[in-house]
């Protein structure tokens, strides 16, 4: 364990634990757009920038992304210093030029007193903030079906060769994790459309409702040791079964006690 000071309060943290986690645990609100529980920290959005210093640094200060900076003994952190707010505001000004219509960005910007960007808005704005959560989640799932392509102002999330991604199984992890709902998909009956591909959804034997795609079920049973039987019913039916099993156990134990 190490002890450090955050906004004037002495706190304890695991050595090597990232600052953002410690800050969040204290209930301090620091914006972060590329942070997601399912993936490793990325340092992409730069919004979680904080000011750090130490007694021994002779007044020298540094500005680091809290999501990637490990907690250290005697570190003094300021999450909302004047300079930090200024940095965050400039970043949001840039975000607003890229995503002027995105509610998440509009709200964060408004919190920092910005309603309009001081830069020129990009020609065709969309809701993608380039946080890379979708591509990283996809890597983490083991598919790596989509990735970041091009660079600079042409950077975007795309499937390989800009064609329907061969490695996609239609699990929807990317769309689920996207903080701005930029990734579009469509479920009609037992057909799922995403990234220009069409998948067939399995149907729950008990409720008759669609469950997951055939390809995803095949992947999970092959690589994650989940029996294929498990996908014959949906979560609802699983919960139903669990509830009735628990009910049976309770009734049985009551019987046992009254014997």
């Amino acid at each position: 364990m190490v002890s450090l000071t955050i906004n004037g309060k002495v706190v304890r943290a695991e050595e090597g634990e990232y600052l953002l986690a410690v800050i969040r645990r204290m209930g301090i609100d620091v914006p972060a757009l590329c942070d997601h529980a399912a993936v490793e920290p990325y340092g992409g959005c730069r919004l979680c920038m904080v000011e750090i210093t130490k007694e021994s640094w002779d007044g020298w200060k540094n500005y680091v992304t809290a999501c990637l900076y490990p907690a250290e003994q005697d570190l003094i952190v300021n999450t909302h210093s004047e300079k930090v707010i200024e940095l965050r505001t400039s970043l949001l000004d840039l975000f607003l030029a890229r995503n002027p219509e995105t509610p998440l960005i509009q709200k964060l910007a408004a919190d920092h007193g910005l309603t309009k960007t001081s830069f020129e808005v990009v020609p065709e704005p969309n809701d993608c903030i380039l946080c890379g959560i979708c591509t990283r989640v996809c890597d983490e799932m083991g598919f790596a079906a989509i990735s970041m392509v091009n660079r600079g102002h042409g950077r975007e999330v795309a499937p390989p060769l800009n064609e329907a991604p061969p490695d996609c199984v239609g699990c929807l992890a990317c769309a689920q994790a996207c903080p701005t709902n930029y990734i579009k998909f469509e479920d009609i009956g037992t057909t799922r459309k995403i990234w220009g591909r069409e998948f067939e959804l399995l149907t729950c034997e008990k409720t008759g409702r669609p469950t997951i795609t055939r390809e995803f079920a095949a992947f999970l049973s092959k690589h994650r040791d989940i029996p294929e039987e498990y996908f014959k019913v949906n979560d609802e039916a699983h919960r139903d079964e669990l509830a009735s099993t628990m009910g049976r156990i309770t009734r049985w134990s009551v019987q046992e006690e009254t014997k």
Partner: protein
């Protein structure tokens, strides 16, 4: 345009069959075909054990790689600071007029590709134009067209 892709496996096998060989393999493929054919990317991904999406990501990141076929002669106009102040933009315009294409495009006959690049590290020779790997120093607006004259 059809290409002989039979040399691709041999190119891939020049390096250890592991993800870290990716850029070297792509460089050799680019050199061989003067662009990266899609089929070659797919073969590279499969052989090196890199997801196709990552191969595409790398191929689109570096300027050295091109997914479109480049001309036989790649004409690069340096627009770095020194060249810029010595009239690189006018040189670029002259070449665009002569080749009837914009920077970044390839002529229909596949002979020339025109590109603008940052600094090529020869500021003393500004303004500089490169044809493939050959440097042409102190280019002049009224003579630069000769570089792309039909040969």
């Amino acid at each position: 345009m059809k290409h002989d892709l039979s040399r691709v496996p041999e190119i891939i096998e020049r390096y250890p069959q592991q993800p870290s060989s990716l850029i070297m393999v792509l460089q050799d493929i680019q050199k061989e075909f003067s662009y990266l054919p899609c089929e070659a990317l797919e073969q590279t991904a499969a052989k090196l054990g890199v997801p196709l999406s990552k191969v595409f990501s790398v191929s689109t990141f570096y300027n050295a790689f091109s997914l479109n076929k480049k001309g036989d002669t790649v004409v690069r106009v340096c627009i770095g600071t020194a060249c810029h102040i010595r009239g690189a933009r006018q040189i670029q315009e002259q070449l665009e007029t002569a080749l009837k294409i914009q920077a970044g495009e390839t002529t229909k006959d596949g002979k020339f590709t025109l590109e603008v690049v940052g600094c090529v590290g020869a500021c003393a020779m500004a303004p500089v134009v490169l044809t493939n790997d050959r440097y042409h120093p102190q280019c002049k607006v009224n003579t630069v067209k000769k570089l792309v004259a039909k040969r």
